[in-house]
């Protein structure tokens, strides 16, 4: 179907075109001035993508948010699936999320996505490398402030997440920390950092829930 502006004569097209350009500029500058919440990006995407997805040859970056994707309704769904409310002044509906779509040659092979999570002594940034069905290929804590951060950021701890999916995390209660199934098998390497261990698990679950809503990871 053709819109009126495309079928009308050139003389009538100009005002419509000008209006469209103005609207576009407003939208663009509106986004530019927005002082929304902080997102979670890889510090060095070229290096990190190659490390987390060794078979990748390239990636594409997509920006989205719960607000953009479905607003309050989606937020309620995400919170219900997570089993916890978004809380604090930083975990909000307008938090921007960066999704890295990973390609091997021209074929999409997976995603990398990170979330911010409140930890005991600072922000924790948890990235997951996922295949197209949402199975974790790599777990990476980019930033964590804790005396014991080294142990939680260790590759040995991260390997416990490999192969897990969103369905596995359905058996993890982020509020009580009670786990069943495969999640029960994830061991905390530092009992003194229980709060940060649980924060990392909550971040992983939130990450998987959000990714499923954003890109549909259903096999």
């Amino acid at each position: 179907m053709h819109s009126e502006s495309t079928t009308s004569r050139t003389g009538k097209k100009l005002p419509a075109l000008a209006a469209a350009v103005l609207v576009l500029l407003f939208v663009l500058t509106g986004n530019g001035t927005a002082r929304g919440a902080v997102g979670c990006d890889l510090n060095d995407p070229d290096r990190d993508v190659a490390r987390l997805f060794p078979e990748s040859t390239g990636y594409k970056t997509i920006y989205t948010s719960v607000l953009q994707k479905g607003g309050e309704k989606l937020l309620a769904k995400v919170e219900s699936r997570l089993g916890d409310k978004f809380h604090g002044i930083y975990e909000t509906i307008d938090v921007p999320y960066t999704i890295y779509e990973i390609f091997t040659n021209k074929k999409k092979v997976g995603y990398i996505h990170g979330v911010n999570q409140k930890g005991q002594f600072g922000g924790i940034q948890v990235f997951l490398a996922l295949d197209l069905e949402g199975r974790i290929k790599a777990f990476y804590i980019q930033k964590m402030t804790s005396q014991y951060a080294g142990k939680l950021r260790d590759a040995k701890f991260g390997r416990q997440f490999t192969g897990l999916t969103g369905k596995d995390f359905d058996h993890y209660d982020v509020i009580s920390g009670k786990a069943a199934g495969k999640i029960e098998g994830i061991r905390n390497p530092v009992p003194e950092a229980e709060a940060d261990f649980r924060a990392a698990l909550r971040a992983a679950k939130k990450n998987l829930v959000l990714m499923d809503e954003f890109v549909d990871l259903t096999p």
Binding site: G11, L22, L25, L28, T29, G32, T33, R35, A37, V38, N43, D44, R47, D48, G88, I89, Y90, E91, N116, Q117, K118, G119, Q120, F121, G122, G123, I124, Q142, K143, M144, T145, S146, Q147, A149, G150, R153
Partner: protein, 397 residues
């Protein structure tokens, strides 16, 4: 009776596309002119505001010491040099000084930031003198430290956001493994304070084992005090350097002046193109109505009447174009702001393009003046047309 204005208006409507394109040309020139003049005003206002927000006009530090957070981050705290706390008292004795506040900047290495670690900066401040000087800082949550020896922190908005901290939370200083309670989170300021973690000066001195040392003194001058004279006196203190924010401002303004000259040149070219457009449009319109003007003269129109008629057309074009340009500048001020920011090496916070009514009126007057000047030649040419030659269609063809 039909007026000259109505005749001129109808003449312009005869060639709608040409008239519209001429108006667009004038509007674009007016847009560039208003935006440029608005930028001239806005940049200086914003820069002054940024400097005022710092709360002090002079800084004293050890010679060779980095005085800016970015430098501190790049050097990882290794380039820091210290001055004795007593220097503050010496500075305070100067009659030009209203207030002083000492800082201790420090940086620690955080191995758990990214793959290869990163630097975390801390700013030790005296709660009383610092808050008195930085009155523009507003709290989003909480307040300043309860005690000058407390293990408490006030975080800039972006620092708090990155660390996901709220009042009552704890933060850990990496490397030193010292815990602090978050007692305040500042509102956004658009300055480097947003990314700063403030701790009490005495606590910072204790943690970094610099019991009687500081890195910087911020100095607020009394109203009307001679800054240059004070600078000279301060330079006599041993091993210190003085940074005047007026100098910083002047340096930035001189850097920006190059960009301003370039934009001004573009504006002048745009105005020249618009002038040529106006002359072309009106001249073409005169030649097209060559015979018509001749007939007007044979029925009694004087050269001055024809001159006025043609000049009125110019006036209409310039007025409409000028008003459209001003509207465009007002509506797109934010876009212009973003474009300018993207090309400038440094842009202060706040609006870079400030357009007020005085500026609008000046621009409209300039556009009308230039436009009317452009219309003089075609109007004069039209006024000199000889009736009989025009009717025969022999001249000007």
């Amino acid at each position: 009776m039909i007026t000259k204005f109505q005749v001129a208006y109808r003449n312009l409507l005869r060639k709608k596309m040409r008239t519209m394109l001429t108006i667009i040309g004038i509007a674009l020139s007016a847009w560039v002119l208003v935006s440029l003049l608005g930028f001239n005003r806005g940049y200086e206002i914003s820069l002054n505001k940024d400097i005022d927000n710092m709360g002090f006009q002079l800084m004293v530090m050890a010679k060779g010491c980095p005085y800016e957070a970015a430098t501190l981050m790049l050097k990882g705290g290794t380039g820091l040099r210290y001055i004795k706390r007593d220097v503050v008292d010496e500075v305070m004795r100067e009659p030009e000084v209203e207030q002083t506040t000492p800082f201790l900047m420090a940086a620690v290495f955080d191995p758990n930031k990214g793959e290869s670690g990163g630097i975390a900066g801390y700013f030790g401040v005296e709660p009383k003198s610092f808050s008195a000087m930085k009155r523009s800082l507003k709290f989003r949550q909480g307040k300043w430290f309860t005690d000058e020896n407390a293990y408490e922190t006030v975080m800039g908005y972006e620092a708090a956001e990155l660390e996901q901290r709220e009042v009552g939370d704890m933060i850990l200083m990496p490397e030193k493994n010292v815990q602090f309670k978050v007692v305040g989170i500042l509102d956004r300021t658009g300055t480097q304070d947003d990314g700063t973690i403030f701790i009490p000066l005495k606590t910072a001195q204790k943690i970094f084992n610099q019991p009687d040392e500081i890195t910087t003194i911020g100095i607020k001058l009394k109203s009307g005090a001679d800054s240059a004279r004070l600078e000279e006196k301060l330079y006599k203190l041993p091993d210190v350097q003085v940074v005047s924010l007026t100098q910083v401002k002047d340096t930035i303004m001189s850097l920006i002046s190059t960009a301003k000259v370039m934009v001004l040149s573009i504006a002048l070219i745009a105005i020249l193109i618009a002038m040529v457009g106006v002359i072309n449009t009106i001249l073409a319109s005169v030649w097209e109505r060559f015979q018509e003007i001749g007939i007007l003269k044979t029925i009694g129109a004087m050269p001055w009447d024809i001159f006025q008629l043609i000049w009125t057309e110019t006036l209409i074009l310039c007025t409409v174009g000028g008003i459209l340009g001003v509207i465009l500048a007002l509506v797109l001020a934010r876009v212009t702001d973003i474009l300018i920011r993207s090309v400038l090496p440094y842009a202060p916070g706040g609006g870079l393009v400030v357009i007020d009514w005085k500026l609008v009126l000046v621009t409209l007057a300039a556009i009308l003046g230039i436009g009317l000047l452009s219309g003089v030649y075609p109007a004069w040419k039209a006024g000199r047309i000889r009736p009989l030659e025009a009717i025969r269609g022999e001249v000007g063809r």
